[in-house]
Symmetry: C2
Subunit: 591 residues, 2 copies
């Protein structure tokens, strides 16, 4: 990093440099004038170092330094010296030394910055994003940019070593009517037609397998025109890959090794491989989620058999209607959840469609369970035994359809972990969730839809069911889950035109529709397709996980807000009329 302007970096100086003359460049982080001596903390990408500008050492440098304000860009020359023992700053990486300045040049001045360039700046997010270039100067954001680049680099080199080729697929693609909303790009050359920005390179990567590429990857930009939630951006990045002549047992270990390598090199954490594989059904039964957080227990337990004949109709009725009654045991929670908190938990469960939330405090403490009057002593004891209940525990019960029971209790379990302040820090519990249902019934559309996408292969053993009982078919799909977050997912793909056509039939597509939408893939499947499969990781989420960051906007250099704005550049913006005329489109008047 030596250049004409400098021969060292601020943050890399230490006692080994003592006695050397260094040339440094950077930004003025702080500045104190002690009368005849100026102290400046100079900051560059590598960190900070303290400069001492003494009028007696260099009157010129001192005169210049007196003009310096925060964020001025400086180039200085000076000697590295040890600090006096009492001035050593153990909080600063370069705190044992300082630089006695001999000459100082102001390369650029700076207005007073509208935000503080420091990690604990409390400016509101809109201001930070407008002045993103100042926000990015903060050490934590510099670290984020470095980590992001590092992770992409580790992934690339790992995949290169495994024989994957990075191949660019088009950004100007074909619009897809299904799935999430596409961003459209009007074509000027073919007026009235549109490109679609890719939601993922799914079809292209399958085409690459048909092309004989064998192993493909791409750190790929993907686009979805959705209303933004906290963890979504209109453009996001995937580490996307696909392999030929493989089964799930080939691809999962490679992916585990890649993720393990990233955690080792970035966090110094050794992940245990192979990751546990858990079926979708087991994940739902035990954790009420297809992305279970396994850092703690509090698992779901089915108590339907105990209460199926209960006088308490809420329980027995649910079982009779084909649903179930399940419970979780919040160990030692009694006394740590107020009545008000419990009321709120009932409301919380209602979000997930649970019509009620029953609870029992095991020790019959102060908080009398309202359901005790409805269930028999025998039932209560059987529940306690099944739930391993001990004095101090609290048991939460939901009765409804299986889906509602599992989802509501699964979410309640996560909520309780927060309320009870489980210490989960530093734990990374990885697992694979496999054997998802291939199809989901969409009551609104009155037909099945693909749970992943229409190219996902059924498990071989379930293939005969595809035409007879599609709801029972499992997909050869897999999601990598860590701490309750889906980090990536994929599947083995259909590589046979017959199976692909059966899949489209199960989805209620006429073959005409299927050909209209995916004709080029169906055509390609005619000419010799290898068995293949792949997956994609969300790079943004991976960085969030690695850096313990909650907000996706904090792991992207230039993020967009919830209404798709870039506050720094003011995109999107109005187009000029002649641009629209060129494109042959008009803006509708708002009625």
């Amino acid at each position: 990093m030596k250049t004409t302007y400098r021969n060292a970096l601020c943050g890399e100086l230490n006692t080994e440099f003592v006695g050397q003359t260094v040339k440094l460049c950077g930004w003025t982080d702080t500045r104190r004038n002690l009368g005849g001596v100026l102290f400046i903390d100079l900051r560059d990408r590598s960190g900070k170092v303290q400069l001492v500008v003494n009028e007696e050492v260099s009157a010129n440098a001192f005169a210049e330094a007196e003009k310096v304000r925060n964020e001025y860009v400086l180039c200085i020359e000076g000697e590295v010296v040890n600090r006096d023992a009492e001035n050593v700053n153990p909080k600063m990486a370069t705190g044992e030394i300082e630089v006695m300045v001999k000459s100082l040049t102001i390369l650029d001045t700076a207005d007073t910055p509208p935000i503080y360039v420091e990690d604990d700046d409390k400016s509101n997010e809109a201001v930070r994003l407008k002045y993103r270039y100042l926000d990015l100067r903060k050490p934590k954001n510099q670290k984020m940019l470095k980590t992001r680049a590092q992770v992409a680099s580790i992934a690339r080199n790992f995949l290169n070593d495994e024989g994957f080729l990075e191949i660019e697929t088009p950004i100007l693609g074909k619009p897809t009517p299904e799935g999430a909303r596409d961003f459209l790009v009007p074509s000027r050359v073919q007026k009235g037609k549109f490109f679609g920005l890719p939601q993922s390179p799914q079809l292209f990567k399958q085409i690459l397998m048909i092309s004989g590429v064998d192993r493909y990857y791409q750190v790929a930009k993907c686009f979805r025109d959705e209303d933004l939630r906290q963890d979504r951006q209109p453009e996001f990045t995937q580490i996307d890959m696909e392999m030929s002549f493989i089964t799930k047992d080939d691809i999962l270990p490679i992916m585990e090794n890649m993720i393990a390598k990233i955690f080792r090199e970035v966090r110094g954490i050794e992940l245990e491989t192979p990751f546990i594989r858990m079926t979708y059904q087991e994940a739902m039964d035990r954790f009420g989620s297809d992305k279970p957080d396994t850092r703690f227990g509090m698992e779901l337990t089915n108590i339907s058999d105990i209460v199926e004949n209960s006088e308490f109709k809420v329980f027995s009725g649910a079982v009779k209607k084909g649903g179930s009654v399940r419970a979780i045991n919040a160990k030692d929670a009694q006394g740590r959840l107020s009545k008000k908190t419990i009321k709120n938990l009932e409301k919380f469960a209602a979000i997930y469609k649970a019509k009620g939330l029953a609870w029992i405090d095991v020790s019959d403490g102060e908080m009398k369970s309202p359901i005790l009057k409805f269930i028999s002593e025998e039932e209560k004891n059987a529940i306690f035994e099944r739930m391993d209940a001990e004095p101090g525990d609290m048991i939460f019960i939901v009765a409804d359809t299986d889906e509602i029971v599992c989802t509501a209790l699964g979410q309640l379990r996560l909520e309780l972990a927060k309320k009870l302040e489980f210490d989960l820090s530093g734990k990374f519990n990885f697992l694979w969730v496999i054997d998802f249902p291939l199809l989901e019934y969409d009551a609104e559309a009155g037909r099945y839809v693909a749970k992943h996408h229409p190219f996902t292969a059924p498990l071989d053993k379930d293939l005969p069911l595809l035409e007879t009982d599609p709801s029972q078919v499992h997909a050869d799909a897999y999601d990598m889950v860590v701490n309750g977050v889906e980090l990536g997912g994929g599947s083995i793909r259909i590589h046979n035109q017959d199976v692909q056509e059966k899949m489209f039939k199960a989805l209620g597509f006429t073959m005409e529709d299927a050909w209209k939408q995916f004709g080029f893939l169906l055509e390609a499947l005619k000419y010799g397709t290898p068995p293949h499969g792949g997956l994609a990781f969300g790079l943004d989420r991976l960085i969030m996980m690695l850096m313990d960051i909650d907000n996706i906007r904090d792991v992207i250099a230039f993020p967009k807000t919830q209404n798709h704005s870039c506050l720094m550049t003011d995109a999107p913006a109005e187009a000029q009329l002649d641009q629209l005329i060129d494109l042959g489109i008009s803006i509708d008047e708002i009625l």
Copy 2:
């Protein structure tokens, strides 16, 4: 690359494998039935190997193999054996061995492919692009994909080692009214507004320098909605970078080393560094081009002084009007250019606005120069001496404004090199062209426009001229040129708001206009900007150069045609009405 399906790759087998049982997968490249023995060339990404399926060895495998047709996907198990001496195929990398098949499974069948999957396939390009997945199976295209991935990887690792961070900049950017045409993306959330796809990450990379990133790079997708020429695509890829606290003398050697590393690792060619640096003026004077092909001489020579008082008014008149008369000497060309060719060269020069093309055959051979009757013997001899003329040479002369003379002769020089069939193969003559004019006068607009872009810094020494005589200001810009092709270019940027404002004034912008278009950059320049500069290489062109490929569509996995179509997917396509309603736009009726 071992998987459940295979334990070896076809193209990697050799005599060291003899005696081993291998499992292979791939596509049927060719198939011959010699009655009881079937020979199949099996192809995977690594290459081909000959399979022998003998009815006597395995009746099952033979029965299955009889069904096999070209491009069927197979999985086989067999033993690697030496070929008989007379059957060794020295043209095939695996030609010393073959595989005696014990079992054979057809993984997928294939219809008869509409193109030949071989390098010398002569199918027309439209068919090849429609069936791009078959086209990509050809060894030459597999090699292209590998080379492209390799080059990107070498560049990335080189830049990582030099301290550059790869940072993603947005694809959904702000539309820019200036320069080439943007692709626009209508915003659904903010109806009536548009994103613009980036023509380059120029503003973002400067913002990153202001953010303290110090060294940035990106293998970046860029977009230009232009009518396509042979060497342009609506989306293309740049290796884009920017550095802080540097001068040209810091950045050029790093870039030379990167390119040298790529040529070394991909082509085994050692480039001589540092590259020559040639000013724009010298390039124009000597080669009539700002991207001179220096693989051969035939340089332009100014003969204005010789003919300034000539009776031949075409010559003397041009000089008197402030233009010039210049010549090139096509050594030993006499007899190798027919009269018809010379007529065509005159027409060729006219394309570049030359009103005429004079020529002299030095030995007074059969082709009598029509201009000899107009110029004196003394003038002719002076020209011959100046041009180092020898018998057999032919001299071509153009008289006009400097710009027309240089451009026409520069192009003529390239055309003559083709006509005279200069052997230029295997030569890579790299150089930097520097010190470009900062501004160009746009007669149509009646004002100056930036030759590079409005953020290019003037040379320090020319700074005072920016307000007094802008046409004389040189830019601190640099282009890397090889064999007459611009591989990349960039500049030191303006890092000071005052200079940036002067630049906008020279370009005839009101500050209001400038702020409207580039306000966020001007705002950012207020808060402490380091001296910085960068450049970008065209990855597509670099691959073309490395692989001696003429057509840009042959170095892109999924290219578009001249009317912006992807023939494989049929993009662009019609959008659904509800998508357009969501976006608040309508398609204009064509009048």
